[in-house]
């Protein structure tokens, strides 16, 4: 039996139907049509499906869709301001911090969470915070450069 779920995604009220065994990741991609959030491992190890759930960075593959009832969800689709990319997105492009791109939405969501929590991370702090976001193209060096550069720009803008 499907359950009716009311939630807020990227500031918009959203309603969807899902089976209790469907993950939030499945609901986002298949019921709501937000396919920016990617499935990597499906077991909470790789961070490709990272979203914000009520202010906490989580793997949406380890959340049941029905748990989102009454929650606030933020996904990669909510990061840019209409046509204007977020600084983090711009820096990922500028530093070519992506290859196949599957890890990128999760990394950008996680980087935003990192910089909101800690606007001036050391490289080590950034690497630890983002340790749950795996890039199997192994482009970590460019990713960290983009993150540190975005942090600098965001601090100057603040």
């Amino acid at each position: 039996m499907k359950t009716h779920v009311s939630t807020v995604v990227n500031g918009d009220a959203v309603e969807f139907l899902c089976s209790p065994s469907d993950t939030l990741l499945h609901a986002l991609r298949n019921e709501i049509g937000l396919t920016g959030t990617k499935e990597g491992c499906g077991s909470g190890d790789c961070g490709a499906c990272s979203v914000m759930l009520d202010g906490a960075l989580v793997c949406s593959c380890l959340v049941l869709g029905v748990e989102a009832q009454g929650s606030q969800v933020e996904t990669i689709e909510g990061i840019a301001h209409q046509d204007k990319l977020h600084v983090i997105q711009e820096k990922f492009l500028e530093h070519a911090a992506l290859q196949c791109g599957i890890c990128t939405p999760g990394l950008i969501v996680s980087t935003k969470a990192l910089l909101e929590e800690n606007p001036a991370p050391t490289e080590e702090e950034a690497r630890y915070y983002l340790a749950g976001n795996l890039c199997r193209c192994t482009g970590y060096d460019k990713i960290i450069k983009a993150v540190m550069d975005a942090a600098d720009v965001m601090r100057q803008g603040a």
Binding site: S21, T23, S50, L62, V66, E67, A113, G132
Partner: protein, 290 residues
């Protein structure tokens, strides 16, 4: 994933009723970082899931004169941000901070870590060292169980059908008390303890140990206390000789297995080293001049 029936009760009483009357295997959902994976396994049986996060108090941590009452479903991310808790139980907060990734900590809870009862759980030795008490509610009322008696085996706990871990309580430590937790992993993060050690010490103004509580993890089917090491510490100041005895006692108490993450010999040795180092950290935090 297995077929599920999902309930999100708003009160402990409703949760207990659903758990007690369940016709399917009942599963309590807190952060889900273990449970959802288990339910995704091939042939996982149909389950009745009771999400306890909407129950008032389940995700809160509040101080009273006696100590801390911790909602078992509070996420590690919320828990580790609490400076008021960190200042009193820094070792317990460190243990929670070692679990999984930032994303896993956004969901995983201390109550879930305890109920899941992995031998390698990081927060269980730290809860034991701090004398945490489990408040269990069920159809026949409330009972309390010391945390070291809660876990009964690998993946097993003492909850009966219909019972729920409703709270964890930690008494406010005496002055001069501090804790520490250390684990060994081959990587630098995102790994499971090969061995772990938690220590809570109370030192008097002269640096003499008045009380010690030592628990080791990942070296037996459950986390275990090491009373021999505690006896070595009590009445002594921290010295190389005392620390060597503590390390030996922890190694002797361990009954580890060999697996791809570590051999019996390695685990036995390293749990002694970790216990010694955690003792030093706890002693420094408790004010010892070392």
């Amino acid at each position: 994933m297995a077929a599920l029936t999902y309930h999100a009760p708003n009160s402990i009483d409703d949760a207990i009723k659903i758990l007690a009357d369940a016709s399917l295997p009942p599963k309590v959902l807190s952060g889900g970082t273990d449970l959802i994976i288990q339910m995704q396994r091939p042939k996982a049986p149909e389950a009745l899931v009771v999400d306890v996060k909407k129950i008032p108090g389940m995700r809160d941590a509040e101080w009273s004169e006696d100590g801390l009452t911790l909602g078992p479903a509070m996420s590690c991310a919320e828990f580790t941000k609490r400076q008021d808790i960190k200042s009193i139980f820094p070792g317990l907060v460190e243990a929670a901070y070692l679990i999984g990734s930032t994303q896993v900590q956004g969901r995983a809870s201390l109550g879930g870590n305890l109920c899941n009862a992995s031998p390698a759980a990081d927060t269980i030795p730290a809860l034991i060292a701090n004398r945490a008490i489990c408040v269990i509610q069920g159809p026949s009322g409330t009972r309390v169980v010391p945390v070291e008696a809660f876990v009964t085996g690998v993946g097993k706990n003492c909850l009966e059908q219909g019972e729920l871990l409703a709270a964890l309580t930690l008494a406010r430590p005496e002055p001069g008390t501090a804790d520490a937790y250390l684990r060994f992993i081959p990587r630098t993060e995102m790994d499971i303890a090969v061995a772990g050690a938690a220590v809570s010490l109370t030192l008097d103004s002269r640096g003499v140990c008045r009380n010690a509580r030592i628990a080791i993890g990942a070296v037996a089917p459950t986390a275990i206390l090491v009373p021999v090491a505690e006896d070595i510490l009590v009445g002594e100041t921290i010295s190389d000789e005392v620390l060597a005895g503590v390390a030996q006692a922890a190694s002797d108490a361990a009954s580890p297995i060999s697996d791809r993450r570590g051999t019996v010999e390695f685990r036995r040795h390293v749990v002694g080293v970790l216990t010694k180092r955690a003792t030093l950290i706890a002693a420094e935090r408790a004010g010892a001049q070392l």
